[in-house]
């Protein structure tokens, strides 16, 4: 049954014994999830929603201030900066990573020698722990001594100060992110390999070139992969934190660890939220968390809605 059918279908007045039995069985099977949902999701959600309407104090009682946290957010310049930075990453990094993953997967699918080695090489960086790879890239992106700029220098290009120039800090993080897309590449690779050869052969017979086959057959056939990774990518990118945090922490021992340097260009939403949390502004942080949730919800629903036209699911419907 599709979602629309479920919602539109009139509710039955009475359940038959069989239905009742099935209901009980169903509930039993999913009971662990229900319990977990109640205790580890619903209760904390309610609690933090409450906190977002208060000025939360730790030892003394919290005071109810209604929508004040939310209103202050609207006037907070850093809030908008953090939102902008995060949306920047969502809009640029997520599609870019998907595109590259797909292209690289196509490359890895070519009939060339040594593909199994290449596949390992492309995949390996994605299993390196995030702390290690973030710091590794901090070295690579060093303005004069990092190999990236040294290499660019060989081509006569004066590479920018990736880590200290506000214009280039986010692109630097994006490049860093591209290094770890091995996981997605492999997913796309298996998706591409699963495209029925009959379809490809038929297209070839019809006179389609390699590119046309790619565009009209392969890409649509992997569209469900694309959608899934797009949604998960968007959700994940809205919560982007670790790399930016390590970025800030690794920059030559500042006495006050100011997150978001240079000039707040890497102040992402989660980073700012964390900053508020560290400064004991719990109510404010909770308000930010709920706004984030709302944003993610809206984006996901929009994506799902607009994807119906270009996604193809094997077996017809979801």
């Amino acid at each position: 049954m599709t979602l629309t059918e479920t919602l539109v279908k009139p509710k039955r007045r009475r359940w038959s014994p069989a239905t009742r039995r099935n209901f009980i069985k169903g509930m039993l099977f999913i009971s662990p999830w229900i319990l977990g949902f109640l205790f580890f999701t619903l209760y904390p959600m309610a609690s933090s929603l409450y906190i977002s309407f208060t000025e939360h104090h730790i030892r003394t009682a919290s005071e109810w201030i209604g929508l004040e946290n939310y209103l202050n957010l609207l006037h907070d310049r850093r809030f908008w900066t953090s939102l902008y930075n995060t949306v920047y990453m969502v809009v640029i990094a997520v599609p870019l990573e998907l595109l590259c993953a797909f292209v690289f997967a196509v490359l890895l699918n070519l009939k060339l020698r040594g593909q199994s080695v290449y596949r390992l090489i492309y995949y390996l960086p994605s299993i390196v722990p995030l702390v290690a790879s973030s710091m590794l890239w901090m070295w690579i992106l060093n303005t004069n001594n990092g190999i990236l700029n040294v290499l660019l220098g060989y081509f006569g290009i004066k590479g920018p100060s990736w880590l200290t120039d506000p214009t280039w800090a986010k692109p630097a993080l994006i490049i860093m992110g591209l290094w770890g897309i091995g996981n997605t590449i492999v997913i796309y690779l298996s998706g591409i390999q699963d495209v029925p050869t009959s379809l490809l052969e038929a297209a070839e017979l019809d006179g389609a070139s390699w590119i046309q086959r790619l565009w009209y057959v392969t890409i649509p056939m992997v569209s469900s992969i694309t959608l899934f990774n797009l949604i998960m990518g968007v959700i994940g990118m809205f919560q982007y934190f670790t790399q930016a945090y390590i970025f800030a922490a690794a920059q030559s021992g500042r006495a006050n660890n100011v997150l978001g340097s240079p000039l707040d260009s890497t102040l992402f939403y989660s980073v700012y939220l964390y900053d508020r949390f560290s400064n004991l502004k719990m109510g404010y942080a909770a308000a930010m968390a709920w706004i984030l949730f709302a944003i993610i919800l809206v984006c996901t629903l929009l994506l799902l809605r607009f994807s119906e036209r270009w996604t193809y699911y094997e077996g017809g419907e979801r």
Binding site: T19, L107, V128, P129, V150, I225, S270, A289, I296
Partner: protein, 361 residues
């Protein structure tokens, strides 16, 4: 057209096609190789940095291989060699002491000849040297003396977390996925939407109250419980994957079993699970990887170093004023090696698993 002409045209055409094909292949090789460099070079640098000495990590111009001072032994002690300009000529001397800009050097062949000069003008001599001790240093580091804690403790904790997380996940997600796919009950789709929507919940929303719940109410602070127990209550992602897979199992098989009077549990255990080994293997692998790398949970809940996992242990290298890069990379290499080995052995299962999580619908 005459036969000859037609044959010639076809021959020429094919040749052009072949030529095009060859160019294509060469281009392909170049591009694949080029992209491969992007992925490989940083990894190689990471690997070799694990062998460098602290001073060598940021050498300019950057070198791939590890270099270190060349030493010479005089009277049983080792001294580093320098190129020192003396009276207009460059000589190789051993450095006895360098401090405050002044250097005291000695002729390695004639230790009685002592030369003092401003250290600025002396250049150390380097040679390729692999610092294997970085690995033992990394492993022994993060030790909190006074507590019997070391790398192996972290490893043990990581394995415990991974093991129980896998068990908890399988035990809770498999029945749940079955309930969402193979049993028809009213409201099923609605509840499933709810399950999916939890994937959109950012962790920040529940972080603080959850922390308070685990540490204050349940008093589980400082143990591995807050990290392991939630996995026994299923998670949306794995439920989704399993459900996708279960739906590919033909309805008729299940129906037939029901007609034969089998209980749902029986169907699940005897029919569905045996058919699901690929997806179960995949989930095992991915849960392992996730638990192995998870650090937010351990970061928040583990204060006692005896309970630390490897992921936090790695954080240790990020010192406040400096970072022991070489040890960090050595630790990262050690951290990643089990996964690489696992990859080689389980390559097929790995790829199969990743393929299955590609959600083809």
């Amino acid at each position: 057209m005459t036969n000859i002409a037609r044959t010639m045209e076809r021959a020429l055409g094919r040749k052009r096609y072949v030529w095009q094909r060859a160019l294509f292949k060469v281009l392909g090789h170049i591009v694949v190789f080029g992209v491969g460099l992007f992925f490989l070079v940083p990894a190689l640098w990471m690997f070799f940095t694990a062998f460098k000495s602290s001073k060598d990590v940021f050498r300019f111009p950057p070198t791939l291989l590890p270099y270190d001072n060349q030493y010479v032994t005089i009277n049983g002690k080792a001294y580093p060699l320098y190129n020192v300009p003396v009276n207009g000529e460059m000589r190789q001397l051993a450095a006895l002491k360098i401090a405050e800009g002044q250097g005291t050097f000695v002729n390695p062949n004639d230790p009685t000849e002592v030369i003092e000069t401003r250290a600025r003008y002396a250049e150390p001599i380097f040679t390729i040297k692999f610092q294997w001790r970085n690995f033992s240093d990394a492993i022994n580091r993060g030790v909190r003396p006074g507590l019997k804690v070391n790398f192996w403790t972290y490893l043990k904790n990581s394995l415990i977390v991974a093991f129980f997380t896998i068990i908890g996940t399988l035990l809770s997600c498999v029945p749940a996925a079955y309930g969402f796919s193979r049993i028809q009950w009213p409201g099923r789709e609605l509840v499933f939407m709810l399950v999916l929507s939890t994937m959109m919940l950012p962790y920040q929303v529940t972080m603080i109250p959850l922390y308070l719940l685990f540490t204050e109410t349940l008093k589980w602070g400082n143990s591995l419980l807050p990290i392991i127990v939630p996995s026994f209550f299923a998670n949306a992602f794995d439920i989704f994957l399993l459900r996708q897979f279960f739906r590919t199992i033909p309805e008729d098989l299940v129906d037939a079993a029901r007609v034969d009077g089998a209980s749902e549990l029986h169907i699940l255990l005897k029919l569905i699970i045996p058919l699901s080994t690929p997806i179960l293997a995949a989930i095992t692998v991915f849960t392992f990887l996730w638990a192995w790398n998870d650090f937010l949970g351990p970061l928040l809940y583990l204060n006692n170093p005896e309970k630390f996992t490897l992921a936090i242990g790695l954080q240790d290298f990020q010192g406040q004023r400096n970072t022991e890069w070489n040890q960090l990379m050595a630790a990262a290499v050690v951290f990643t090696v089990p996964i690489i080995i696992a990859y080689f052995f389980a390559q097929r299962t790995f790829i199969e698993g990743i393929k299955l999580t590609g959600t083809k619908g």
